[in-house]
Amino acid sequence: MEAVKMMQTMTPDDTKPVNFTVKAPVYLQIGDTKADTAHSGVCVVDVNLPFGKPVNIEEVTFKNYYTAYVTVRLLRRNPEQEAPAKWCTALRDLPLMDNPHTERGSQDYYTIHRTQMQVEPDHVVCVRLILRQPSLAWLTFSLEDIKIFPHTEPDPEKEVSDWLSDLTLIDQHPDLEGLPDPQTVSSSIQQMWALTEVMQTNQTTASIGRFDVDGCYDISLLSLT
């Protein structure tokens, strides 16, 4: 069933999120002097993945705190090529709140799966989350509890669920103690059942007929024809 398959390919509970360091969120300000700054409603959060170990991302999860839109940018380094790492946009302006001025979605949990991203999130070195909250209604906004889960290739031999392969065929014969062999019994029952099926479908109105010979039921006189 598709739903079950979905559960299997989704991040299983025992996949650990990647360890990373999150730099302090940088709230962009407008204005030159410190006294004159106004909140721009934009914040940048950089997530640095472990140095020397680029990650193939399966999904990113987080809890919202009054952020209206999030843009996800990835710094990818292709291991084969010697080229420097490049930034690309994986998701632009994903709405987290229906309406930036009202509560809906403001504290919800979100998951961004790799299939929702516009580029393949492989060999990622750094993830940059650009948060936007244009409304004046809120004092602050951010994302909490950011987790990044690595992509794991499904083991082809384990396509079938573990429990199925754990089943062993019991082929030792049970102790019958004088009873007939179950296999023979079941096959003869099956034959009988099939016969009754045939009888049911081929019901006729003709009488069964009597097995008498010249009006006599004496068993020794029963004809074998």
Binding site: M6, H101, D108, Y109, A137
Partner: protein, 510 residues
Amino acid sequence: MQQGNGIELSLTIAQIIQRLRGSHLHSQIERQAKECLHQPDVKLESLKEDVRSFLKTSGWERKLQNAVYRELQLPPRHPPAPPEHLKEPLAYMRKAQASWEKRVLKSLNSMSTELGVPLAHMRPAAEQKELTNKWNEMGTDEPDLSRFRPVYAPKDFLEVLIGLRNPNHDSSEDISARSHWGLIQVPLNVRDIPHLREAYSELNLTSGQMGIDDHALIHPAVLCTHSLFCLHLSCVVVMEEDSAAAQQYSRQGCPTGLRADLWALILNATNQPQDVMHYEQLKAGVIQHNLLVDNLIYKVSYIYLTPPLLFSQVLLCFSRDTAVLEHFKYNSATPPKSYIQGEIISVIPFHGFSMYVAPLCFLYNEPSKLYNVFREMYIRYFFRLHSISSHPSGILSLCLQFERLLQTHLPQLFYHLRQIGVQPLRLAFKWMVRAFSGYLSTDQLLLLWDRILGYDSLEVVAVLAAAVFAFRAENLMEVTSLASAEAVLADLSTLKVMPLIQVFLFATAM
């Protein structure tokens, strides 16, 4: 949420399967499937298809569809989210609800101490026997209730709602940016008339409504055809036992004779043997134990002129129904429970909730059926009217919606009332918190509740409150005091709800 649709769908499917697995319906269908194997037209080669078509023709597939439909009404579970978040996503609301509950429980406990009556005690055997004999006369006997007072009044609850603040809300910009004239200070998402027109399109002025358009003023020929058509349609819906169709149908009102069946269908409130048994168990609980709240229930039942015995029976049983606790998984409210000999035996009802039962007594005369329908209605809708949450059908959203509708579409009236020191919400709150029960005439109330079920939302209650103000606007503009404003709005018993709502939604100048 803008998640990948395929992923979201598969997740929902998996969750529904999990919820239905192990349910009574699941075992019934399994049993039916096994039994149908005896049938001759079920063949081994085409076993799967044959069993499926058997389940379809025997109506079991429909029952499963209804169950799935009901599950879809519940919010989807998002994997990383903890259970309390599922109930209520906003942390400050959860906190407010928890402290409100503590307050109510404290009040109940102090009443118990003050009166010297324990919250719960086991009845002596003689008393139990007497109650069993008098069960069907309950309600005609009036115990001395003068010492008991309600646990809290609606206006106490309103004060709590008014005082709610989001700690992250910037109120310094309040006056210039939003200029909200009302009392509710929480910025919840509420719909305005253009959105409401879309959502409630079946109520528009050109659609026939039960209760208006089957009135005698219309030409008999037209009346007959329309009514007959509606009646026929509703019969078909009931016979087909289709919950979703019943819900859609209810949006234009239910014919009186079929309302009971249609509501039961929409709520999927079956009256199976195990439901009757459950009810009998609850009844036994009532006879065995006397609860403090029972006295509060007796007290209220005399206000409403309904068959009192049915009313009391249902309420007393409800307060003991711990299966109701199961629903509180989807609601951040945790009802106070009382213990007898270490066992949880009751959900302590909140004041006034008996008003939710009374109208149902006019529809159902079988206690266990009435009980099941009431319980479903309570856990889907009515509990939201006395708990603090951000849900669109929650009382907080309804209050805000009422105020916004009034300020946007009747600004002169709102302004005038504020000038004389009257906040409109203080007048309308008691109507909304009881879903208008006790204020409208019963037939009108049932037409309103048809729409609550039909649209699966209590929004229509807020819309009606605003519509009543619109209707009485002229008189209200003349008043100069709170008392006279209250007098203008005191008697709603002559109002016809559907024309009011229709005019307010579809004839208001934009």
